[in-house]
């Protein structure tokens, strides 16, 4: 009887949990696991970073909105500031081969050296598998995962949805606010915003 109850409970759990596997990633839910190959030729497995905060940054070096945050040095500053505090930062490139922003490992390494980018690693996702599992829509789009592996922020980098470098100063940087609150042990107040920028140039997308 005890065994029957255990099995029944397991069944109920699986049924309750099932929609979470069908739906895309969402704030408050477990971050979909992934294994990604980085431009430094290393393989990164998200589950290996339990116990740390992880930032995912969707990237396309040809997108004017990405350029806003890289030409100004804003993104690199954030990468340095947060990785120095033990946060793991993955830049993710989901552009398919032939589409804007697609790079091979060598191309990305050169770009990062030139721009002074300092993420933990840049993951090459030309199949869009990681991008689709998080339903990433734009570049840039920022996701924060807590040490328990739960998504605690998903959305825009800041509250000024423009491609103008002048809009960086004075903007509310949602990523900074979210990480600041989370690292201080507080709940993230603004946990989801509309990400802004260019559409992610997935395989098969036409704009």
């Amino acid at each position: 009887m005890k065994r029957f109850i255990t099995i029944s409970m397991l069944f109920v759990l699986v049924v309750l949990a099932a929609p979470h596997f069908i739906l895309a990633a969402k704030v408050g839910q477990p971050a979909p696991d992934f294994t990604g190959t980085a431009s430094n030729n290393q393989t990164y497995h998200l589950a290996d970073f339990r116990g740390k905060f992880v930032v995912l940054e969707w990237h396309n070096n040809g997108c004017p909105y990405t350029q806003k945050h890289y030409m100004s040095g804003n993104m690199q500053k954030l990468q340095k500031q947060w990785t120095a505090q033990g946060v793991v930062w993955f830049t993710i490139i989901s552009s398919a081969q032939g589409k804007q922003g697609y790079v091979d490992a060598d191309g990305e390494n050169k770009y990062m050296a030139k721009m002074g980018a300092a993420p933990t690693a840049a993951l090459l996702d030309p199949t869009g598998a990681i991008g689709h599992s998080y339903d990433a829509k734009t570049t840039p789009q920022m996701i924060v995962i807590n040490p328990q592996g739960v998504i605690i922020y998903d959305g825009a980098i800041d509250n000024r949805p423009t491609d103008d470098v002048k809009d960086i100063a004075g903007a509310t940087n949602y990523l900074n606010v979210a990480l600041g609150q989370a690292l201080a042990g507080k709940p993230v107040e603004t946990a989801a915003t509309r990400p802004y920028g260019c559409s992610v140039k997935y395989k098969g997308s036409w704009f």
Binding site: A24, K26, V27, G62, C63, P64, K99, Q100, H132, D135, K137, T138, D154, G155, P161, T162, D163, D164, A191, A192, T193, R194, Y196, G197, C198, S199, V200, K201, Y202, G204, S205, W206, F207
Partner: protein, 281 residues
């Protein structure tokens, strides 16, 4: 030129580049992959009157610009007006957009050609017998597979006169044509109801006829999942439309505002209170 055919081809190519886009007037400003010009419905501005201006966009095939809610990506055009004292601009009146894209990323915008309308009010103390310089700095994002941000300065000089304004034949025709694409007020006897049902909003419409086609464009960002299919269920006297909520929507909303499209030239402005949560069975 050694080969006359090559020479001819080069000349032809140059001619192609120089041919303006159809419908674009000679005075149009250039934006990435298109042009924009400013038109006024009247020949002059009178004190105390209202004049409609149109930003007349023409885009190359395949390129688009964005609605006030751009959807999953993109950015609407922004206009910074420079008007003489005594004139003040109103809000942009946006024509109903189109759904752009398929699969997981869906945007709202316009391709080919579109005119954004803006009313400009003249105060009763507007000085007359002068020339008013109406100018606007425009920033616009133009996209096809990639996006190109652009800027343009557009301007128009209009006299100010004390007599009632007379329409400009060509411009007023363009503006009248553009008005047909603005969402209309829904007829008074139509009824809308929106209920919050778990992961969806359900919009029930009573229009006096069974309706099989309806598309909703949310005015606010991050309320409705833009890429989710919108399920229309025809019912007696109307339809029921299920709109999946956006993953970015973490709070209850009190109103759902947007544009309802029943057919290409039948679009309506909708602003409905969101009713109490009903637990879906």
């Amino acid at each position: 030129m050694r080969n006359p055919i090559v020479g001819l081809l080069i000349v032809l190519l140059f001619m192609l580049v120089l041919i303006p886009l159809p419908g674009a007037p000679a005075s149009a400003a250039t934006i990435p992959h298109g042009t924009v010009d400013l038109v006024a419905e009247n020949q002059w501005i009178a004190p105390g009157s209202q004049t409609y201006f149109g930003l007349n966009f023409h885009l190359e095939k395949g390129w688009h610009i964005y609605w006030v809610n751009p959807g999953d990506s993109g950015q609407p055009p922004r206009i910074q007006w420079h008007l003489p004292a005594g004139l003040s601009e109103g809000e942009i009146e946006w024509p109903a957009p189109r759904r752009l894209g398929t699969s997981t990323i869906v945007d709202f915008g316009y391709d080919d050609a579109v005119m954004l309308l803006v009313p400009v009010r003249a105060s009763s103390t507007l000085p007359t017998n002068q020339v008013a310089q109406i100018a606007a700095d425009l920033r616009v994002l133009v996209c096809r597979e990639i996006c190109v941000p652009g800027k343009a300065n557009i301007s128009l000089a209009l006299p100010t006169k004390s007599m009632p304004p007379e329409v400009d034949a060509r411009s007023s025709e363009l503006i009248a044509a553009a008005r047909k694409f603005l969402p209309r007020q829904a007829p008074r006897d139509w009824e809308f109801k929106v209920t919050d049902q778990n992961d969806s909003f359900v919009l029930t419409a009573k229009l006096g006829r069974r309706t099989t086609r309806a598309v909703f464009f949310p005015l606010e960002e991050a309320q409705v999942d833009n890429s989710a299919p919108q399920r229309v269920v025809p019912v007696a006297g109307g339809f029921q439309l299920t709109l999946r909520k956006s993953d970015q929507l973490l709070k209850r909303i009190t109103r759902l505002r947007g544009v309802l499209e029943l057919s290409a030239n039948q679009t309506y402005a909708v602003d409905v209170a969101v009713g109490d949560t009903q637990v879906a069975k």
